[in-house]
Amino acid sequence: MRTQNATAYRFLTPYLLIFAIFWIWPIVSSFMISFQATRTVPWRFAPAFNWGRLIGDPAFYNALTNTLLILVIQVPVMIALAIIMAVLLNSPLLKARGLYRFAFFAPVVVGEVAYSAVFRLMFSLDFGIVNKLLNSVGIPKIDWFSNVTPAMALIMIAVTWRWAGYNAIIILAGLQSIPEDVYEAATLDRVSRVKQFFHITLPLLKPVIVFCAVLSIIGTMQLFTEPFLITERGGPGGGTETLGLLLYRQGFRSLNFGYASAVAYTMAGLAIAITLVQLWLMREPK
């Protein structure tokens, strides 16, 4: 194909301009801001100012620990659940498939604010439907909002409800791309279905599962709306504060842009590390 610079850039430039202004430049700019003291006018370059504060800030470690704790528990549970949903939705034995698909996929279209409001109401101490139902089967009511452990559990339950179906959609697409004859051969060789799942399905799904895991980790790492709205600004007492919330409070409540940028770049560093792990997991076997 001959080179068509002028034509190509006529199509490309409008998007590239927006992409450069609102994505590439902010990525660079954020990095530079993290090395500046931003609460003086004018801002001044002070390389250790924000990063020095960050490594000694208990609020940062609290947010980091909470975020990692949610990651480590919520993401594997959700991915496992999504695999189960996808495999069962794919079963030829399933009747009324459309209804089940609707049940699991519907949360994908529900906005963060709408579902945060519902979860907050459902889990409220005295009048929440969840505690009422627990009570009716003899389980004492749980104070989801005043104790750290139930509050963290609530955040994880909410995020899992919202995103499991999303991952199941991706995994289901992966399942449907596995050729049927692989299973037929295994069935002829009298390989049990459970063995087929662990020895055929899971290995073939590995790229898709790793992809879902990376997407989910990067999404959960930025968790903001749920602890902001459901557990009321990361309550109780910072018990559900995440890196996303810390960034919000520092950047947009205290208007401390430098420090907030350092927090943002900590998230970026984690994301880059996770992406590298993904590339390593996905490397071509020699």
């Binding site: 700019s29 279209v109 604010v113 579902y115 109401l121």
Partner: protein, 278 residues
């Protein structure tokens, strides 16, 4: 009945016995959203267990409208989401077309930069975007602030690049031989052929804009400039607020999207699943 078909029946029953409760649990929050939205506040905050809808929905909408101008906010949300979707589909399909069908200097670099930065968290650009839009351009609380910055999203570029590169070259070469201009080939040959992909992309982008919360929360915080999710979010956590009203707002945000989801399920799922096809 043979033992083989008995075993099959057993598996069918086991499958449904497991999946049905899980599906009911998954539907429960949506169902309760609808139920709450139809109950008066003193019904929501009463000790009884209520699982069926009442008839208080319109009163709740009125309560919500008293607490915040939700109908106005819905108007902003709809206009912004429609404009954003049209612009984003246009910009990203043009870029995707260029990357799929032309050879040019810098092509490799553009693709590398898009792929290389796609997994960076959005949080990284939040502060510079805010400083730029609010301070440098003084555009806070405008529609432009809601619509333009999120157009950076490169999902559509990759999606449409994929779609256009799968089309056979002869389709376009035939038009070129006849002397048809490139932009006409794009508009009148390539785009119509890509209709299913455009539909999937448009749905995903519309939904993203409709549900977007963090950026509109930061940039359009004045009451008259808020989108519907932001307006609803300001009520959560207030005392003396109608929870029936909040739930009515949640229903107004959610139910139209559920209907779109049911009607256009195929495109929706294609759009989400395409994220995995890189």
């Amino acid at each position: 009945m043979t033992s083989r078909s008995q075993a099959r029946l057993g598996r069918v029953i086991a499958l449904h016995l497991f999946l049905t409760p899980l599906a009911l649990v998954w539907l429960f929050p949506l169902w309760m959203m609808v139920v709450f939205s139809t109950m008066p506040d003193n019904g929501i905050f009463s000790p009884g267990i209520e699982l069926l809808p009442h008839d208080n929905f319109l009163d709740n909408v009125a309560n919500l409208q008293r607490d915040t101008n939700f109908i106005g906010a819905i108007g902003i949300s709809v206009s912004v989401a429609v404009t954003y979707t049209i612009l984003s589909v246009l910009l990203t399909s043009m870029a995707g077309w260029a990357l799929a069908r032309y050879e040019f200097h810098g092509k490799g670099a553009v693709v590398a930069i898009i792929f290389g930065t796609i997994t960076l968290p959005y949080a990284v650009v939040l502060i510079p975007q805010f400083i730029m839009v609010a301070r440098d351009f003084a555009l806070a609380n405008t529609w432009i602030a809601l619509i333009v910055p999120p157009l950076f999203n490169s999902l559509g570029v990759l999606f449409m690049r994929q779609a256009f590169s799968m089309m056979p070259a002869e389709l376009f070469d035939a038009a070129r031989v006849e002397g048809v201009k490139e932009w006409r080939i794009f508009l009148f040959v390539a785009l119509p052929l890509a209709r299913p992909m455009l539909a999937a992309l448009a749905i995903i982008l519309f939904l993203a804009s409709w549900n977007n919360y963090l950026w509109p929360l930061l940039i359009n915080s004045q009451p008259g400039a808020m989108t519907a999710p932001v307006a609803l979010g300001t009520l959560i956590g207030l005392t003396k607020v109608s929870w029936g009203g909040i739930m009515a707002g949640a229903v107004m945000l959610t139910v139209p999207m559920l209907i779109v989801f049911v009607l256009l399920q195929r495109h929706f799922i294609a759009g989400i699943a395409a994220g995995a096809v890189k």
